[in-house]
Symmetry: C2
Subunit: 348 residues, 2 copies
Amino acid sequence: MIEDKNQQRTQLSDLGEFGLIDHLTKNFKIKQSSTVKGIGDDAAVLNFEDQKVVVTTDLLVEGVHFDLSYVPLKHLGYKAVVVNLSDVYAMNAKATQVTVSIAVSNRFPLEALEDLYAGIETAAKIYDIDVVGGDTTSSNTGLLISVTALGALSEDDVVYRNGAKPNDLLVVTGDVGAAYMGLQVLEREKEVYKVNPNNQPDLEPYTYIVERQLKPEARKDIKELLKGLDVKPTSMIDVSDGLSSEIIHLCKQSDVGCDLYENKLPLDPQVISVCEEFNIDSTTVALNGGEDYELLFTISQEDFMKIKGNPNFSIIGFMKESKEGMHLVTRADTRIPIKAQGWKNFND
Amino acid sequence: MIEDKNQQRTQLSDLGEFGLIDHLTKNFKIKQSSTVKGIGDDAAVLNFEDQKVVVTTDLLVEGVHFDLSYVPLKHLGYKAVVVNLSDVYAMNAKATQVTVSIAVSNRFPLEALEDLYAGIETAAKIYDIDVVGGDTTSSNTGLLISVTALGALSEDDVVYRNGAKPNDLLVVTGDVGAAYMGLQVLEREKEVYKVNPNNQPDLEPYTYIVERQLKPEARKDIKELLKGLDVKPTSMIDVSDGLSSEIIHLCKQSDVGCDLYENKLPLDPQVISVCEEFNIDSTTVALNGGEDYELLFTISQEDFMKIKGNPNFSIIGFMKESKEGMHLVTRADTRIPIKAQGWKNFND
């Protein structure tokens, strides 16, 4: 919301498509041994030896998934990569490569795309992955980013959504609801800015939740963490659309039911206080907020002692027979059926 | 350009995102042995055993790459897959899987997306590949399709762009320039239609070139064909941006020059006659038209007898030392430097 009046502006048409790709990716280094050939041919060539390969893809669309009035392009590039890696980690795989395609209107100068790619490069560094391909093209309107992520794992390590059994424990990493409340704060500040553009937003009290929204992290660490504890989840999914929605996916695909305990939901203190400030129910936010990019998984009861008390994990419920349905057990000990809300893009 | 007044229209919001993906992909069958798990989890799981993997991605944007006033959605879905497979074949790999993501505005009814996916499904059937993932989201304006294609090959089979040597022969499959002239015909008919919407276009004399534009095919057959002839190209690329542009890529990446013979350029008779009709130079069209999705490759002179006279291939020139540059040798035996024109999207 703070404009730099001295921005350099280089027209994209000054470079042309090939010049643009070359320019944006020239600093990208290949680090993964599985990358035989990265950007620069008709396709990348990868060597996974006897490992299995996972592949996942996501689109981020301006005006639907992000609002450039408060999302810095560097953060956007970072986030576009991270949300895809999260899906790779949800298979219990190691992320290895991404391809990144963008469609962008002429209103963006080259410097804006450089920021976007700086974020992509930072994510690639931090998550130790290679950017091995992509496409850049013009669009008639806004910005769109399409990322495909690849990962590798040994066959024994694969964790699907469909392996949960009755009595398995339901576990979530980190905390939930923060990204959604970060979005509420940013949306509010945007409205304030519209009325008074000289008003500098004070985001200090909201640092954690704003960062969770603008610069989420994927749980690269969980695979190793669980391996070290000798725990293999029976099912797993990442929390992108909201906890409720993901629980429903696990239950439906595993053909089980579930009891989820409201008092076990991991909420950051900042989420609780901002929920009070906004007069929003924090449980609703935890269940339906989404964009947490935490991992939700189930483990056998036998593994309970291995993760009990571990600060990375919260045991939030347990699985039941399918016919018993999916319920939230509230603090008042009432049982409410779990419904997905998620991101209903097409209702916008 | 012919509107069906009785179209059924189902709003996308009636299904929601998950319902939409399920609905659109419910008929997709898994056929590749390398697909362990397709659509339905956080990521697809693939098993390439000891094969190398190639991955490539392309974006198609409404108003930039296609015009829905004359491109049927079914053809568009087909083409979106095929243009990516073309890149896989250009590595001398076998195409195995694709992911397909779409961003679409609410102005499209469900039936339109069903047509698009019918085209994707047809391409998957014909090219024997699996659709293993994707994403659907709303967009504020038009339609955008992002496809990532995967392929497999043994290490010995990989053909890069950078292996051409001086004296190698330059070979192209099929013929070139037809897709571009097909586009000219469709653009002209669109203008006629704008003036008189009752005027039914007669595309009969343009069948071949219009089909090359609307429903291009990728050269799945070339890998086996060359293997049967015991020929391994020294370098290869697919012709998407235009022959000139692709020749320049091969030369630059291989550090060689090239003489290209105007009288050897393979042109379909329909292209020649429509070029006359439009008063366009057919050589310019052959060199800069693009969207041919043929394969351009170089072979050692030793392999000359193996492909000489083969109707699938035209020997159009030969490679030289880098310092001799890249030239078109005209029918009048003058030498003109080769320049790329290609698709300059950002200049539009």
